[in-house]
Amino acid sequence: MVEFLQFTLSGLSFGMIYAAIALSLVLIWRGTRLLNFAQGGMAMFTTYIAIEVIHGTGSYWAGFVVALAAGAVLGAVAELAVVRPALGKPELNAVIITIGLLILIEGLAGIFYGGQYRSFPAAFSVIGLRAGSTPLGVSRFDLFVAAAVLATTLLLAVGFRYTSAGLRMRAAAFNATVARLSGIRVARVITLGWALAGLLGALAGVLVSPSTFLFPNSMDSIFVLGFTAAVIGGLDSPLGAVVGGLLLGLVLSYAGGYLGSQGSNLTPLVALGILVVVLMLRPDGIFSGTRVRRV
């Protein structure tokens, strides 16, 4: 039973990371109807920026904040410079462009920062916590990961629901024509969406890099799992992104834990299995039913 608890908590912790990436993909999908393949790469790049800041200033939190800000800026710049010109053209073009952006960013990271693995500090202790003498399988840092992602998600949810900017974003996502005709500058809203997505990705990057080390391709597999989580949850549903992420984290943790060494090799297959099962039952993701028919 102790094992189960450990796997559960560890799975939830990683699940939060997948949820963050999934959420960023959902944000962009709702705003632009586009899959941003560069999301992981952008997160990797902002994490490199963070580490430079941390080494330069000696402060983890300075790096943390700069990473988030850089993520927002990078997201906005990517949308304005590279994605905006591609809209209105064949749809796969924009996807290829984000793939090109991913490759470009990974190449630039290699040029500027070199290809070797770098370690990234964790905000808090990574020593496993204990309840009495029982190891819990999570550390203070894991708790911080969960708290950070949850807090950001809640902030976003509240922002969407209760602010004017949030209303504009939702209106633009649901019906861009009516939104534009109501005076909403949909183009700006979309840029804002990409900025928020970039921020979320940057958050995921700094939270996961202590575990994975940092190198130009370090976020690739996280991206794939985040994408899987978003698909499982339903690409139109932010709630689905979080649920999908947690679900995926949990199942992968159990698989890795109970299947031993074979488990880590089979992780992608297990993920594929979950995906297939979910999509067989709900081809548009778990929360797809909440899409409302327009007037």
Partner: protein
């Protein structure tokens, strides 16, 4: 009608999609607080006309003047902020948002910034006052409204937006006759009581001419008749040929 500057002037407007010319030198003049009915068969260009005025489609030639000021070639956001509200056919409300949120969207075209909360609240209160059923449902999703209630929401949002000109594309489409009449009454009130200039595209030509001041008949992108509503309604040959009644 009056000698003051007409609210909306569309002059020799040309617009189209790719190689297809949908509007060929269309000219329309709408006086302040008047109702102008735009009529004609399917494909005559009525919807394109509204889209060209509101900026969804960029005109290739011609001018659009709002209260005498040139507004040609602006995008929809700018046109909305300049005071032109357009309700496209079948897309009046955003179904995934609540009634109140839909009304709040109406306020996003108010010119300038810094509108105080009290002004916004007052605008909402006025809309709820006039449209009781909406007040009851303010937190419900617009998708849960019936057809007539949705059109009510559309009109209410138009009221909140306080536009100079309101372009309505087939507001009575798909509605039962009784509801249709109610919607038309609401449209009339918008113009008479709130001074909004209305341009109304309608398949239901008889109903539209009954409430309109002027009528314009389009055929294949051109204006084939432009006169006051009573004259058009009395022109039996015209009605048979272009309007179906």
């Amino acid at each position: 009608m009056s000698s003051e500057t007409p609210s909306l002037v569309v002059e020799d407007l040309v617009a189209g999609y790719g190689e297809v010319i949908a509007l060929d030198k269309v000219t329309i003049t709408a006086g302040a607080a008047s109702i102008t009915a735009v009529l004609g068969a399917n494909g005559a260009g009525k919807t394109t006309l509204l889209r060209a005025i509101s900026g969804i489609v960029r005109p290739r030639a011609g001018r659009i003047l709002l209260d005498g000021a040139e507004r040609t070639g602006r995008g929809p956001e700018a046109m909305a902020r300049a005071g032109i509200a357009h309700v496209p056919e079948g897309q009046g409300v955003i179904a995934e948002l609540t009634v109140e949120e839909n009304l709040r969207i109406g306020m996003m075209s108010w010119p300038g910034i810094g509108w105080r909360r009290t002004e916004r609240a007052a605008a909402l209160a006025e809309a709820y006052d006039r449209f009781g059923p909406l007040a009851d449902r303010r937190r419900k999703l617009a998708a849960t409204l019936s057809g007539g209630e949705r059109q009510m929401l559309v009109i209410a949002r138009a009221l909140v937006a306080r536009p100079r000109v309101l372009l309505l594309d087939e507001p009575s489409l798909g509605l039962a006759p009784r509801i249709m009449t109610q919607v038309m009454d609401m449209v009339v009130r918008l113009s008479r009581e709130n001074g909004i200039t209305i341009v109304l595209v309608e398949q239901n030509a008889r109903g539209a001419l009954a409430i309109a001041d002027r009528g314009v008949v389009l055929n294949l992108g051109r204006v084939v008749a432009s006169a006051d509503a009573a004259t058009l309604a009395a022109d039996v040959a015209l009605r048979h040929h272009y309007l179906g009644f």
